[in-house]
Symmetry: C2
Subunit: 221 residues, 2 copies
Amino acid sequence: MHAFCVSNSAALPADGVLAVSRVRLRKGETLVRAGEAFAALYAVRSGTCKSVLVTPDGQEQIVDCHIAGDIVGTDGIATGEHDCAIAALEDSELCVLPFDHLEALARASNEFQRNLHALLSREIRRERKTMLILGTMRAEQRLAAFLLDLADRYAARGYSATEVVLRMTREDIGRHLGMKLETVSRLFSRFDQEGLIRVHGREVKLVDRDALHQLVQSATQ
Amino acid sequence: MHAFCVSNSAALPADGVLAVSRVRLRKGETLVRAGEAFAALYAVRSGTCKSVLVTPDGQEQIVDCHIAGDIVGTDGIATGEHDCAIAALEDSELCVLPFDHLEALARASNEFQRNLHALLSREIRRERKTMLILGTMRAEQRLAAFLLDLADRYAARGYSATEVVLRMTREDIGRHLGMKLETVSRLFSRFDQEGLIRVHGREVKLVDRDALHQLVQSATQ
DNA sequence: CGTAAGTTTGACTTACATCAAGTTTTGTGG
DNA sequence: CCACAAAACTTGATGTAAGTCAAACTTACG
């Protein structure tokens, strides 16, 4: 519940009020499937999950990758059915936040309400940023943006801003950034050669964050 | 307020309760700019608007295009500042929905609250669908998906499901779908030749919706 | 009515995809 | 703990969808 509780700690003795239950997922397991009934949001406690949207013809878009502190499942509120699947990229633990409880708390507390709304709005902003990345950037810029975003999110949770361990395969990264796994692999190799990062399999060290930033912001032409 | 009020009509005599004010925008005018303080959502009453996100280097992503009945401005809730600009594509009129009023109403009514949350969640879903389009589809599929979505939205409001008048330029469409205006133009011409649509400038008639649907769902390779 | 903005179309270039082969890592059962 | 199969990754050669540059045409508007 981090992102949520932390920012709510004054108004929300959440674990108590919410009578939170937990779910454990093993690597590869699915928390929710597209079409399943919506009843709760989930807070990632530990591990990493992905939200996946699938086309009728089986193409997958990895909409986002979630780490400890993130809240997932917001797509279900609209219709009472999830349309995104959520799956664990490694063994993970999540808190179940029954949505009617959240709504009751939001009616009772202005501050809790505002935090709930801010949570949903942040999701909207985050997705718009991803749309910007997909719509305007070249492959190398997308990958640089992805690495910086991931590192920043770890940093915001007290971990290193320069060393990240990817939980996604090259293929998953490709399915998130709209490119093929070969392109992801080639770019990792090139960034390594150019001294922007240091890659050992899934371990990536951001050697030159400034250069990565510049790359992201360089005109795409 | 359509989308919102219509679905809320039972619980929400909105115009009365909200003491709604109106804004008129001339074609090209901006309702909010990135960085401006957030105070309200806006319901499109008539006309068409776009939400635009800009990169540091000036590249634009048109995040969405809004028609009568849509609610805009949700990105501002998160931080109290908008990060998306909103501009009119033609002369338009919008209702101002002060957000603290909406929150007060949501605390008072379960039904209103649920509708507000559904509104935000629908936005999340809609953006994820756009991410899917940008991340997995080729240019022709993206354009077909765009046309079908627009026509469906007009149809849901009682207009024709086969005749749409585009308010965006080819360049704007390109900036929404992640392609160049020349590509948009070429695809319009090709779709016309192939009998999928009939184009006269900004007027587009969807001649063969089934074929367009099939095109969207054909494997991208 | 004239100028600017928007659009179309063609010729050429390029970023990324595809196909293919070989290497490394991971995970599982003996 | 090793063996070995499957999954993941890397790298090269080649193909292609879409971008770029350029010029002419059309539409909108002050």
